[in-house]
């Protein structure tokens, strides 16, 4: 029972971390970033290279965060910004961008599976059971990321501006908020978060050019259900991730793999705005 609860909470934590970069871009920019999976992959390779240089595996996600943010800012300037008035084209552009990034990675690193060192190994004793230490670490990081993002949105000038842009971009601009700058910083932050998440989950995964793809699909579903709010994302991750674990455990892991997609479709059918109340 405790094991099941831990499986649910840690799965939700991983999903939350992975989807948060996608959510912040969708929230502020009204843009589904289909290059999200490719950013996760970049993060994975950043961890491989970082630990390959002998850096501590604990630093890898921070390295990926910085690298991803820079890459995100450049991409926003060159590709996304010229398409602000054509939202559908912008979404297509991110999709194409994702394909280009994956192909560049394949050209440079090859298709082989790569490895990043794991910062901690083995298990931690949790009363009656031993549980994977790294999954607990990731869950802790997820809580930290959630709190940090909340603080950023509610206690900083950038957050205030971002919330204004989310609510009514035209009005925000009328009040003198530089919405172009807000968008650029948001895309950089979203890309950085995605890369950091990619680096964070590599100790549980293999790094290969397509590692981001299955995560993109699940993140997309979670973000649609969450309806552009971080508390919503946390609830969606617990609900859908929990359902996946329960179905996998008591029914079949193969059906479990479909749970998030099917459940998300059902929720959106009943409530088109997802879980958000606004």
């Amino acid at each position: 029972m405790l094991n099941l609860a831990l499986d649910i909470v840690t799965t939700a934590g991983i999903l939350f971390v992975v989807a948060s970069g996608l959510l912040i871009i969708l929230g502020v920019m009204k843009l589904i970033n289909f290059a999200h999976g490719a950013f996760l992959t970049i993060g994975g390779y950043a961890a491989v290279m970082g630990t390959g240089w002998g850096l501590s595996p604990w630093i890898a996600p921070l390295l990926a965060l910085g690298f991803g943010a820079v890459v995100g800012l450049v991409i926003e300037r060159l590709i996304v910004r010229p398409l602000y008035d054509r939202p559908l084209d912008a979404i297509l552009a991110t999709w194409g961008l994702g394909i280009v990034i994956v192909q560049l990675i394949t050209l440079y690193f090859g298709r082989e599976v790569q490895f990043a060192a794991s910062p901690i190994r083995g298990t931690i004793s949790m009363g009656p059971i031993d549980y994977s230490a790294y999954r607990l670490v990731v869950t802790g990081v997820a809580v930290g990321v959630g709190l940090a993002l909340a603080a950023l949105l509610y206690f900083t000038r950038f957050g205030l501006n971002a919330r204004a842009v989310i609510m009514n971009e035209t009005l925000a601009r009328g009040l003198g908020i530089d919405s172009t700058r807000v968008r650029a910083l948001t895309f950089g932050l979203g890309a950085g978060l995605a890369c950091a998440a990619g680096a964070l989950i590599t100790p549980l995964l293999s790094v290969d050019p397509n590692m981001g793809l299955p995560w993109l699909v699940n993140s997309f579903m979670l973000v649609l259900v969450a309806g552009a709010s971080f508390p919503g994302l946390a609830i969606a991750a617990l609900l859908l991730g929990g359902a996946q674990v329960v179905v996998s455990t008591f029914f079949s892991p193969i059906i479990g793999g479909l749970t998030i997609v099917v459940l998300a479709a059902a929720i959106l059918r009943i409530s088109p705005k997802g879980l958000s109340l606004g």
Binding site: G122, S132, Y134, L204, L205, T249, P253
Partner: protein, 385 residues
């Protein structure tokens, strides 16, 4: 994107032999997964085929004719294989097909082989019982691979209860279903058998089931590459340290996994450390031909090398490249290759010496024991040989 890429390779080394030049080349088609799931291993398979062709041409070819390899990408799947086989058999008019492929690609290609009536040597280990009048197989089937690992766990660790984990596809399920039968026939018990889709990477629930079942030993058969690695890493992160047999890992992957793979058992018909004169010569020749570009030879690329020699011997025995005489001769010839003496004389399959290896802490695989001439069992009873 799935278009067939045809790369024609006339192995140049042999063209010195004057007579070989003048003759019409013998064309060998190699449909192989240069893109898709097999793309990691396919280059090593093409390399070993190129070495075999170059060596044969340097010795004057087959019946005085040079060998020409025609490599076609099958995309590792059924659709690509249909196009590749159609093209090779009916447009390129190859004399034979020799290839390592996914089971999906082989199953899609076989009807076309039957229609075109071309000798086909399949060089990949697979789940067994695929039969065609035109096909021979020189790699292992579950009957040959599973036994050594299960026997070792029962004898060495006294294992009685087993847990099986795999990827949900023909090879994964075929291997584990055979494993279940083998364990139960030998007095053991299978506590659980669980699968994840091929692209699945979250093994959380299955690992929790494994832990609560508390078996003596674990045997896995996932798709190669990524699923294998994610499962192993998550097992290690969950502190699973029971004897662990992996039916789907190759030496190269084990080496890159390093300490995560430590202690894992693998059974194969080829390991680079096999102590045979033919193996050392083969590795040296590969090193010399490909240098820095060399892909590590493995349990899929070495059978490809041997199969090209087996085809050469069969054509020479038959005295022609005509399909039926060559098919008859293929069961009768034998070749001393890196893996041992290879003769495809067991219902179109091949008795093989199997090696049980254990991955050490540094990722190197050491041979624990070998099993001489393991029989593939009843694969295609309709064919006497």
């Amino acid at each position: 994107m799935l278009g067939i890429r045809i790369a024609s390779t006339v192995a140049v080394a042999g063209l010195l032999a004057g007579t070989a030049l003048a003759e019409e080349p013998i064309k060998i088609g190699i449909p192989v997964g240069l893109s898709g799931a097999n793309s990691v291993v396919a280059p090593s398979v093409v390399q070993s085929a190129e070495l075999a062709a170059a060596e044969i041409n340097a010795e004057g070819g087959i019946l005085g004719r040079p060998v020409e390899l025609i490599v076609a990408d099958d995309g590792s799947g059924a659709q690509g294989a249909q196009r590749a086989f159609e093209n090779l058999i009916f447009q390129q008019e190859v004399d034979a097909l020799i290839s390592m492929e996914t089971s999906a690609a082989r199953n899609a290609g076989l009807p076309i082989v039957n229609r075109g009536q071309v000798p086909y040597i399949y060089t990949s280990f697979y789940e067994g019982r695929s039969c065609s009048p035109w096909m021979y197989v020189n790699a292992w089937v579950p009957e040959q691979q599973v036994g050594p690992i299960v026997d070792h766990f029962m004898e060495e660790y006294g294992a009685q209860t087993f847990f099986l984990i795999g990827s949900d596809y023909a090879f994964g399920r075929g291997m584990l279903e055979f494993t279940r039968e083998y364990v139960e026939a030998n007095g053991g018990e299978v506590l659980g058998e669980q699968y994840l889709p091929m692209d699945g990477s979250d093994w959380t629930a299955i690992i929790s089931m494994l832990r609560s079942a508390a078996p003596d030993a674990l045997i896995t058969s996932t798709a190669g590459g990524s699923p294998n690695v994610t499962l192993t890493r998550q097992l290690r992160a969950a502190g699973v340290d029971i004897p662990y047999g992996n039916l789907a890992v190759d030496e190269g992957t084990a080496r890159t996994m390093r300490e995560d793979a430590a202690g894992m058992y693998i059974a194969a018909s080829y390991l680079t450390s096999i102590d045979r004169e033919e193996n050392r010569a083969f590795l040296e020749a590969m090193e010399e031909k490909f240098g820095a570009d060399l892909k590590t030879p493995n349990d899929l690329s070495v059978p490809q090398y041997e199969a090209i020699y087996l085809y050469k011997l069969a054509v020479e025995k038959a005295g022609t490249t005509d399909a039926q005489p060559v098919i008859d001769a293929l069961a009768e010839v034998s070749f001393e290759g890196p893996r041992g003496t290879i003769q495809m004389n067991a219902q179109r399959h091949t008795p093989l010496t199997m090696y049980l290896g254990k991955v050490e802490d540094d990722g190197e695989v050491t041979v624990i024991s070998s099993f001489e001439d393991v029989d593939p069992g009843d694969q295609c009873p309709q064919f006497a040989n």
